[in-house]
């Protein structure tokens, strides 16, 4: 694998966000560089939910952070409303210009406790965005709006608004985070493993709430996760990432029913689920994930891939069309049309 390439980018119709050739590198000392994200491209249609899956360290959270410019990527473009006259290139903005655009994208984080300032009250946390952008002091309207949004996420404002975050459970903290994120009515909500730190029973509630918020506020969601079944359930389109690259992109159903990339097949086979579409024997995968400081040449997955040969060492596979809206970055994908080569 190791998908560079832009074959999977769609036209500009209805696209709300486009990420082109995103690269994120961090200095690691001793003249070494961590290649966290290497040449990743994708686009998101308005109202769609895009899932990003992959194991820890594959660069999914870094991608999310780079989209919102916290911190800005090393190179690549992040464009809002691409191809329209409202087109805004986030990566070209700095300072006050960037601040003005920021509310259009909001984010929910994995750690519900760390997401909320322990010293502030729920009312101030949720109302912060409104206070920042309020023209003059219209406290009464902000108050009403905070109550409304808190109720929408299932928190009773009359009991909760004046409490501090440590008085709430993880699931409730995540609800408060969601309230804070939607209060400014963003266009895009990026959820960075929003349920990974929660109990299974609470996970479903939060996922339902996200779905509800999506409909209510007309959001476009980016949902990052490592739990395949969760990502499948919420996403329209899914991107599989490995070691900073895209392996496979496709509609959620197509990708899960006919995974073409060996890595996707491994991921699916590893999931402890009955009725897997992939034979369990494929779940065996050798070695640890290679270091992002020194990624393998050619296809980055080749060191663990059952099908790798010499070509994978020398030539990096480019994302190519497999089917209508199904793309894979592999020299030898499974069930891929006429031939694997």
């Amino acid at each position: 694998m190791a998908g560079s390439g832009t074959a999977h980018l769609r036209g500009h119709d209805e696209m709300v966000l486009r990420v082109e050739n995103l690269v994120m590198e961090f200095p690691a000392g001793h003249h070494q560089v961590v290649h966290a994200v290497s040449d990743v491209s994708f686009d998101i249609r308005r109202g769609e939910t895009l899932g990003i899956v992959g194991e820890s360290g594959c660069g999914k959270s870094t991608t999310a952070r780079a989209i919102v410019q916290l911190p800005p990527p090393t190179s690549g473009r992040v464009v809002l409303d691409p191809g329209t006259d409202r087109e805004t290139e986030l990566t070209a903005l700095v300072g006050e210009d960037l601040r003005q655009v920021r509310p259009r994208l909001q984010m929910i984080f994995q750690d519900p406790i760390s997401s909320l300032n322990p010293r502030r009250r729920v009312r101030d946390i949720v109302g912060e965005g409104l206070h920042i952008w309020a023209e003059e002091s219209d406290d009464e309207r902000i108050r009403a709006r905070v109550d409304e949004v808190l109720e929408a996420v299932g928190i009773d404002p009359t009991v909760a608004a004046n409490r501090r975050p440590h008085e709430f459970s993880g699931g409730q903290c995540q609800r408060i985070s969601i309230a804070r994120a939607v209060v400014l009515e963003p266009e895009i909500l990026i959820c960075d493993e929003p349920v990974s730190a929660l109990d299974v029973s609470v996970q479903a509630q939060i996922l339902n709430l996200l779905e509800e918020m999506k409909l209510r506020y007309g959001l476009t969601l980016v949902f990052i996760g490592h739990d395949l079944s969760v990502v499948r359930n919420v996403s329209d389109r899914v991107i599989v990432m490995y070691l900073g690259k895209v392996c496979e992109v496709g509609g959620a159903d197509a990708l899960y029913s006919a995974p073409a990339h060996p890595y996707t097949r491994v991921l699916l086979a590893s999931a402890p689920e009955p009725a897997s579409t992939v034979d369990g024997s494929e779940a065996a995968i050798g070695d640890e994930i290679p270091s992002p400081m020194d990624p393998p040449s050619g296809c980055r997955f080749r060191t663990r891939c059952p099908r790798a040969d010499d070509r994978c060492t020398t030539e990096e596979p480019i994302l190519r069309t497999l089917d209508d809206d199904h793309f894979v970055a592999c020299h030898y994908p499974t069930a891929a049309g006429p031939s694997g080569a």
């Binding site: 916290l70 601040r99 984010m107 322990p118 010293r119 009773d156 008085e167 709430f168 459970s169 400014l184």
Partner: protein, 321 residues
């Protein structure tokens, strides 16, 4: 199912976390209901007490401070009036702390001496915290070149010899109350800045800071609204410890004749009573200001240290996650 008072809190210990998981089942039943606990502070208050020593220390500090502030109103002798009693007499019913070589009332002088000592100590530590705290928060939040520059300034301040600094300041500006206070605050700034920076860095990495920036908060707003409240609590405990330090430092300077020229502080009184002959014939002249300073600084340290422990665990955000 009995209502668990801790159901909605976030306990810090591992065992507590275990049954927190179970309590989520209850939450699931209650389906999307926010039911904050009946006694939100019940589990915190019980094992977390400041203790009797803390309150005794605070009592002494308040007593000394109040006496110093209202000294002009107290029915005590004029501290500068010579011959109010016999010269160099020990404690009596008329002069509780005895008199010095000029027959001045030592009790009154000890109270009046507290005025200069506490004032210089208090204002220098407050100024040091304001400047140092601002430097630390800006440096820890902004990082980059600002951090480098402020870090360099801190190092320079730390490596400058204290006495040389004071001699320089006094030679240039004289020995006014505010000059001495300012010079002392310079000594406080670098340590406060370093500490504030360290605490800031811990919080600046937390997601709520990223969330605030995404909402469009300016850097200044993030520092004031998100970082400052978290830095303030642990730092406020150190204010008391720092006050103890500045009072002692002022005493040392006064002993060397480098402190405030007008009036007198405990340090100056100690110096007056510390001549070899005075110590032999009238030890109380030095003893009472020494005792007052000792008890005050001890109290400040005990109270400050207790407060620091009290806030450390939860508020620094390291143990609580």
């Amino acid at each position: 199912m009995p209502a668990d008072p801790n159901e909605h809190t976030t306990p810090s210990s591992r065992t507590a976390k275990y049954w927190r998981k179970e309590s989520h089942v209850n939450v699931a039943h209650a389906a999307r209901m926010a039911e904050p606990p009946a006694e939100p502070d019940a589990d915190r208050a019980a094992p977390r007490r400041l203790g009797i020593i803390f309150w005794v220390a605070i009592g002494w500090i308040l007593l000394v401070t109040t006496a110093a502030i209202v000294a002009p109103l107290l029915p005590i002798a004029d501290p500068e009036q010579i011959g109010i009693g016999p010269r160099a007499s020990g404690p009596t019913w008329d002069q509780w702390f005895g008199t010095d070589g000029n027959g001045r009332d030592m009790f009154s002088r000890t109270i009046w001496g507290a005025r200069v000592s506490l004032m210089v100590g208090f204002f220098s530590i407050v100024a040091g915290f304001l400047v140092g705290g601002t430097m630390g928060i800006v440096s820890g939040y902004r990082r980059g070149w600002i951090d480098l520059v402020l870090g360099f300034v801190t190092y320079v301040m730390l490596s400058f010899p204290l006495l040389v600094l004071f001699l320089l300041v006094i030679l240039l500006f004289g020995q006014g109350l505010w000059i001495v206070t300012g010079a002392l605050s310079i000594v406080v700034i670098p340590s406060v800045a370093r500490l504030a920076r360290a605490i800031t860095i811990v919080f600046a990495e937390r997601e709520f800071v990223a969330a605030a920036r995404l909402l469009g908060a300016t850097n200044r707003r993030v520092m004031v609204r998100e970082i400052l409240p978290n830095v303030l609590i642990p730092m406020s405990a150190l204010l008391l410890l720092g006050l103890g330090l500045t009072i002692v430092a002022e005493g040392g300077l006064a002993y060397l004749g480098l402190s405030v020229a007008d009036g007198f502080s405990w340090g100056k009184m100690i110096q007056m009573g510390a001549g070899l002959r005075t110590l032999q014939t009238a030890p109380w002249v030095a003893f009472f200001p020494i005792g007052a300073m000792f008890l005050t600084v001890l109290s400040l340290n005990l109270a400050g240290d207790r407060l620091r422990q009290y806030f450390d665990i939860r508020e620094l955000g390291i143990g609580s996650r």
